[in-house]
Amino acid sequence: MTARNLITGAQNTWCPGCGNFVIQFALKNTIAALGKEGVDSDRIVLVSGIGCHAKMADYLNVNSFYSIHGRTLPVATAIKMANPELVVIVCAGDGDCYAEGLDHLVFAAKRNADITLLVHNNRVYGLTTGQYTPTSPLGFRGRSTPSGTVEEPFNPLAIMLASGATFVARGCTRRMDLLQRTVMEGVHHPGFAFIDVLQVCASYYNLSDYYEKRVYEISDHDEGDFEAACRKAREWDYNADAPIGLGTIYRAKRPTLEERLSATRGTETDRETIIRNVLEKRT
């Protein structure tokens, strides 16, 4: 394909200071880098949910399916099943992917389709003006919980590990370079790559300073060690203060959904033959 401007002409409407700009930048660079590796941008498909995060579908000049709130993953999985040549990247929100459509997340991990998921985890509903999400800390005062939430957050990394994810990582929009490396690793990973991106929401939950003080790049860690990964994932529980490790936490090899599907599938393609065979048996 011919070199292409990876950003569309659509007017960008994220708030000044929003972490989504950083994710957009990381994705753009990743797609450009993939191009240099021979992965044509025509083969990239971006799937997004609904929320601030999802506007990525309008902004990145690649194929996209701007889907509905919470339902990115079945769309993305199916696109990959339909055509394994496509490189499928998903931008989901934490409300989107951890609340509205959490079931699909667990099943994406279980199935190991070769897609890459970025959860823009700003720990708040941005586009609907600031309600708590499953990763907001206990007591968070949002617009639906003015006296504070009554629920501890869950730990998405721990859930992903328990669900069979083969690539589990965390990024933060305060660490753009590391995020970009992690995204690239995720895309390269043959299987479901889960990346929880701690994304600063400038308007409703600005944790810039909080993250700035706590995040560190994970090193001296065996990504292939499941137990170690669980410990690393639990180091910070999204609630109490703790160091927040960034980078890849776990990586394993397992056949992908597409590989397994193609192994069980028949080959006859003539429709008339198949109809005749069935009717013959029913006569």
């Binding site: 394909m1 011919t2 292409r4 569309t8 659509a10 044509d40 025509d42 083969r43 498909v45 799937v47 609904i50 506007k55 579908a57 309008d58 000049n61 690649v62 194929n63 996209s64 399916f65 701007y66 889907s67 509905i68 339902r71 079945p74 769309v75 993305a76 999985t77 199916a78 696109i79 099943m81 339909a82 055509n83 040549e85 496509l86 459509g101 079931d103 699909h104 099943f107 599907l261 069980t264 599938r265 028949g266 080959t267 006859e268 393609t269 429709r271 198949i274 109809i275 065979n277 069935v278 009717l279 013959e280 029913r282 006569t283």
Partner: protein, 550 residues
């Protein structure tokens, strides 16, 4: 004898459905056209199941109130169906468990002697039936060879013992026509979709369409078809849309409860113009209702599901040939006009079995719109005269293909501009109009019976079978709209030309077709409705029609 009805009953687990099918195939071999109704509660073992096999010279799609033979594997079969007995009904029964008058066979003893498992009781009683009905052994043997998948020789032995234990009480003669396939409505839908170009079938099990999933999964063992059963119906429709975006023609199947969960994706299909076909098998509702019993009570839900306004295709075939034809057409039309489609069926059609004559020669061809050209100038939602935009799927060289559930511009980028919003709304109206005019040419209203009559039965879906017969015997016209959205109003009006009394026959309580017709200015004043989960029988409908006309 020109026609014959056989009821076979027993517990769930006795293999009543397959036994019914074998009986159906006996008739089929002898040149009869058959129809089988299968009645079962929602449980796995025990309870009471029965199948009514009816055979006739002509194509049929309904059962009668009375039967000529009863094959009783349990006492309930005799006790529950007393009202179906007429003067010459012959009862064949398992003497060890059932008290009845007729031909008693000691099934357990025969099975024991042949060292056969209990489930082979049905083969034995079928053997007895064949003898009683004067069916040649050769016919039974042929049918068993073709239709009994497992332990053929033991089944044949057991059947032979039944054959020998009974005595002939009448003689069902061969008609000489060749056998034809006997398939369920579900299979007809599946085959129609395959003919229409289906690439993928996605479903979560739900009666009465689960068997489409099972059928497709079996087909996929040899055929290049993607069949997937994901975590729930939301995933089902979203996967179908993902497949559709990526260039695969996908259909899904469910019933009302599952369709509820699909409605958000359905509306997304309308907005994004990524097509999908939903097979919606109606059953008795609301809510879980009676999952294994029939109803026609989701018409308006199908017509209006999903927020906002977008064109949709809703077809309601009534028998196996229509199911095959219109599943094919639904898939083609949905893709041609890039709209969601619904194949609205019901338990009676889905799980009923029908003699099937391939209607391929009569299926109209749908021309495909002109191909899209890839390139940097491609706009997924290009405005066009009929509202349909050229369709491409990724990857295409130098082409960005954006689909979007937000209001979008021609390139697929979200917009809140009032003019574009109005234009996109008008684009959808244009597609609706284009679809309607193509539907007009596809013979979407079936007119039958005595077309000279000034009384018409108006029906939709599976009751066409029973209406056709009642109309035949009573000299009435029958009018069946097969396409319900866009409703071919003009053709309906033409079909009702000269009619003085219009009787709408429906299997629901509120009169859903009647409501739809009223909206379009057709206001029949006679109504026959049944809403207890059971389909009309021929005789019942005749009585109700006579009452209505009185």
């Amino acid at each position: 004898m020109d026609e014959s009805s056989v009821l076979i009953g027993g517990k769930a687990g006795d293999g009543i459905n397959s036994a019914g099918m074998v009986v159906a195939h006996l008739f089929n071999r002898m040149g009869y056209r058959v129809y089988m109704y299968f009645d079962y509660p929602s449980l796995i073992k025990g309870g009471h199941n029965f199948a009514i096999v009816r055979a006739a010279r002509e194509r049929i799609g309904a059962h009668r109130s009375q039967v000529d033979f009863i094959l009783a594997l349990n006492q309930d079969t005799v006790d529950f169906h007393g009202d179906m007995v007429h003067g010459r009904t012959m009862v064949l029964y398992d003497r060890s468990r059932v008290r009845a008058e007729g031909i008693g066979i000691n099934l357990p003893q025969i099975l024991k002697e042949e060292e056969a498992p209990p489930v082979m009781g049905n083969s034995c009683i079928i053997g007895a039936f064949a003898k009683a009905a004067g069916i040649e052994w050769k016919v039974l043997e042929e049918v068993f060879v073709r239709q009994v998948p497992k332990a053929l020789s033991l089944n044949l032995k057991v059947a032979r013992r039944g054959y020998e234990a009974a005595s002939e009480c009448c003689r069902i003669g061969s008609l000489g026509s060749s056998p034809v396939p006997v398939i369920s409505g579900n299979e007809a839908i599946g085959l129609g979709l395959i003919r229409g170009g289906l690439d993928a079938y996605v479903a979560y099990p739900m009666t009465p369409t689960s068997n489409i999933l099972h059928f497709m999964a079996e087909v996929a063992e040899t055929h290049d078809l993607l069949v997937f059963h994901p975590e729930n119906e939301i995933a089902v429709i979203m996967m179908a849309l993902g497949l559709g975006y990526a260039g695969k023609k996908a259909a899904v199947g469910t019933s009302g409860g599952g369709f509820c969960l699909m409605t958000e994706g359905f509306s997304l299909s309308g907005m994004s113009e990524v097509p999908v076909v939903v097979v919606l098998g109606q059953r008795a509702g609301p809510s879980t209702g009676m999952p294994t019993y029939t109803a026609q009570s989701d018409l308006h839900f199908a017509l209006h599901a999903g927020q906002g306004e977008f064109p949709r295709l809703v077809v309601a075939p009534g028998d196996a040939e229509q199911a095959y034809t219109w599943s094919d057409l639904a898939l083609r039309l949905s893709w041609k006009y890039q709209v969601p489609g619904v194949i609205l069926c019901d338990k009676t059609l889905c799980e009923g079995f029908y003699s099937f004559s391939r209607p391929d020669a009569t299926i109209p061809r749908i021309d495909q719109p002109t191909k899209a050209s890839p390139g940097p100038g491609y706009s997924r939602y290009l405005f066009s005269e009929n509202g349909v935009s050229p369709l491409l799927s990724p990857p295409c060289t130098d082409t960005v293909i954006k689909v979007n559930g937000y209001t979008h511009d021609q390139a697929g980028i979200s917009t809140e501009n009032s003019e574009i919003a109005a234009l996109m709304s008008e684009k959808r109206l244009k597609k609706a109009a284009a679809l309607a005019s193509e539907v007009f040419s596809l013979n979407p209203v079936v007119v039958g019976g005595d077309t000279g009559s000034d009384v018409a039965l108006i029906c939709w879906g599976s009751p066409i079978g029973v209406c056709r017969e009642a109309a035949g015997s009573m000299g009435l016209r029958v009018v069946q709209p097969v396409v319900l959205s866009p409703l071919p109003t003009q053709l309906l009006q033409d079909a009702l030309q000269g009619i003085k009394r219009q009787i709408v026959v429906e299997e629901n309580a509120e009169g859903q077709l009647a409501m739809l017709l009223a909206r379009h200015g057709i206001r029949p004043n006679l109504h026959i409705r049944r809403y207890d989960g059971r389909p009309f029988t021929v005789e019942e409908l005749e009585v109700r029609v006579r009452e209505a006309l009185a």
